[in-house]
């Protein structure tokens, strides 16, 4: 994801000389090519994230298009009030790129996990919140962001992610619109971000017994509410899968929609429970611990559907 982001950033910067990149002493080697091509438009402003957001606001107010990059907790949580006041209240087109969404900084521990960011960011008026699932969507998300006249938050993984969406799917993708991956009848999966892979695998596991629908949400805000409702309407069960706390993220956003609809739908929320993830281990291990890997998801969904059948 990081490399895709870098490639599109370079491509965009070639076309628009007002684009500048601010980093908070993060991203070793990631931006070497950007830095080489645009040495006067790459700024490491130090481990001072609150100041970094204020600087980005000032640059934006003076005609630049700042892209701000650092690890999510330091960006979203440390500098939250600057994001709220300087960017959202002033409604400035600054692009915030957070790296390390979910549990991808696994063994670095809970200080570096990012499981509350979507909840925080989607509560902010004027903010767009994008959750690309693979490198292809990262490229499109960054392009979308440059056309938004207010602030945008893009949540990246760590790097090395594989492409999950088909070429057709990418070709037909529209900004802020949901992406239908699979039609079904028994249960509708809704996912966002790179954990979409686990959702795809879970539907594969379940496919012998159930017809599972699957949609991918790359824009958590604005949310494609009408299309989501159009999909949910034909199901009795919805499963949301996100690499985030079960409080305030994708699952909550979908629950808010369902609660305000006339549909009689039951929702299972797969995500990090309301707990600090203190276990030590790689991402796959942590996902399993929280029941978020494909086989655990399939098992949880199967029990739910079997209870209904009985």
């Amino acid at each position: 994801m990081r490399n895709s982001f870098n490639n599109v950033l370079i491509e965009s910067a070639r076309k628009d000389d007002s684009i500048v990149l601010l980093v908070g002493d993060i991203g070793f080697g990631v931006f070497d090519s950007f830095r080489k091509e645009f040495p006067n438009r790459f700024f490491n402003v130090g481990v001072a994230e609150s100041n970094m957001i204020g600087l980005a606001a000032g640059l934006s107010m003076s005609g630049f298009k700042p892209v701000v990059y650092t690890i999510i907790p330091f960006l979203v949580m440390r500098a939250f009030e600057q994001i709220r006041v300087d960017l959202c209240i002033q409604n400035l087109p600054v692009i915030l790129v957070g790296v390390g969404g979910g549990l991808v900084y696994d063994t670095l521990g809970p200080t570096h996990h990012a499981i509350e960011d979507l909840s925080i960011m989607r509560s902010l008026p004027n903010m767009h919140v994008l959750t690309p699932c693979d490198p292809q969507e990262v490229m499109l998300s960054l392009k979308d962001s440059f056309s938004h006249q207010g602030p945008t938050y893009i949540r990246l993984g760590r790097g090395g992610e594989e492409n999950l969406l088909t070429k057709d799917s990418i070709k037909n993708r529209k900004p802020s619109k949901l992406n239908l991956i699979r039609n079904g009848e028994d249960v509708l999966f809704i996912s966002c971000g790179s954990i979409l892979k686990e959702a795809i695998l879970a539907t594969d596991i379940l496919s012998t017994d159930f017809k599972c629908g699957l949609i991918n949400i790359h824009s958590l805000k604005p949310l494609d509410i009408d299309s989501i409702l159009g999909q949910i309407g034909s199901y009795k069960f919805v499963v949301t899968v996100e690499e985030h706390s079960v409080i305030g993220g994708l699952g909550s956003a979908i629950a808010e929609i369902i609660a305000q609809s006339s549909f009689n739908v039951q929702q299972l929320m797969i995500g990090v429970p309301d707990t600090i993830s203190t276990q030590i281990g790689k991402r796959d291990y942590l996902l399993k611990q929280h029941g978020m890997d494909a086989s655990s998801i399939a098992k949880r969904v199967k029990s739910l559907l079997l209870i209904e059948k009985s």
Binding site: I53, G54, L59, S60, F64, Q82, Q90
Partner: protein
């Protein structure tokens, strides 16, 4: 463009204090103590230093002023009104239902308001960003940020201080309204900033310390040629909170308080006498 009243700064300050009193008394209230400590600083900047044009607020060659101590916006509003950025209807509805101007400045709510402030510790980073942007564009606009001494308790202020000296932003000037009182107590009893001038120098700034209620001293310290090239400029302006009204001066009670009728009458008489003297 510089406005012509350079010799009347003291008279303008007296008028501004009366206008602030008038608005604070008739409306839900405001931070009158800090407004009165910062009045002389803002009057000096708007009428003696800033290159600005009230008839063309977004003029690209203008100097910028960000009131980072946004709670003292009534002083700013009164000066913008007097400069001609907007007419009296704006301020007459201050903090009223459906009004335009509220208790903290919001960018573009009225012409001349450059940034949204009120949460302390934000304005200097934004100002540094604007100053930096103009350096990158090789433009000579100056950026002024007015801070409170209490605001220097905020860590983000010092992050911005480091950045400005690192980038040699000598187009950036801060004026610290050092009235020595925060909301509840003396700054020295809470989180002392002193020796403030020495601390600022240690952060790489060119610093002068003046009486911030004397226009001539502020003017005499703020000219860029008086400072070291390549360094951002800091003016520590020692002021008196509540300056101009005897019972408010140096009194924590008047950080934010609505005036009773008898208090209003005394304040009005003192400020009117000063203006007519």
């Amino acid at each position: 463009m510089k406005l012509p009243e350079l010799n009347n700064l003291e008279d303008i300050s007296k008028e501004i204090r009366l206008r602030v009193l008038d608005i604070v008394y008739r409306t839900p209230g405001g931070h009158i103590g800090g407004c009165y400590s910062v009045t002389d600083i803002l009057v000096t900047l708007y009428y003696g230093v800033l290159n600005h044009n009230p008839k063309n607020p977004k003029w690209t060659d203008r100097d910028y002023l960000i009131l980072s101590k946004g709670h003292c916006c009534l002083a700013l509003y009164s000066i913008l009104e007097r400069c001609g950025y907007f007419d009296k209807t704006f301020l007459e509805q201050y903090s009223c239902d459906g009004g335009i101007l509220g208790g903290h400045p919001k960018k573009d709510d009225a012409p001349g308001i450059e940034a949204t402030t009120g949460s302390l510790g934000h304005g200097l980073s934004i100002g540094a960003g604007i100053a930096w942007a103009h350096k990158l564009k090789n433009k000579s606009n100056r950026v002024f940020v007015v801070l409170s001494d209490g605001e220097m308790n905020e860590g983000s202020s010092w992050e911005a201080m480091m950045f400005a000296s690192q980038k040699k932003l000598d187009n950036l000037t801060i004026v610290i309204d050092n009235n020595k009182l925060e909301s509840l107590d003396l700054t020295d009893n809470i989180l002392s900033n002193e020796p403030l001038d020495e601390r600022l120098e240690a952060f790489g700034w060119s610093v002068k310390r003046v009486n911030g209620n004397k226009h001539s001293e502020i003017l005499g310290a703020i000219l860029p040629e008086l400072h070291q090239p390549g360094k951002p400029i800091a003016i520590v302006a020692d002021t008196i909170k509540g300056k101009g009204v005897s019972f408010m001066e140096g009194n924590t009670k008047w950080h934010y308080r609505k005036l009773k009728p008898n208090e209003y009458e005394i304040a009005l008489e003192e400020l009117t006498s000063a203006r007519n003297a």
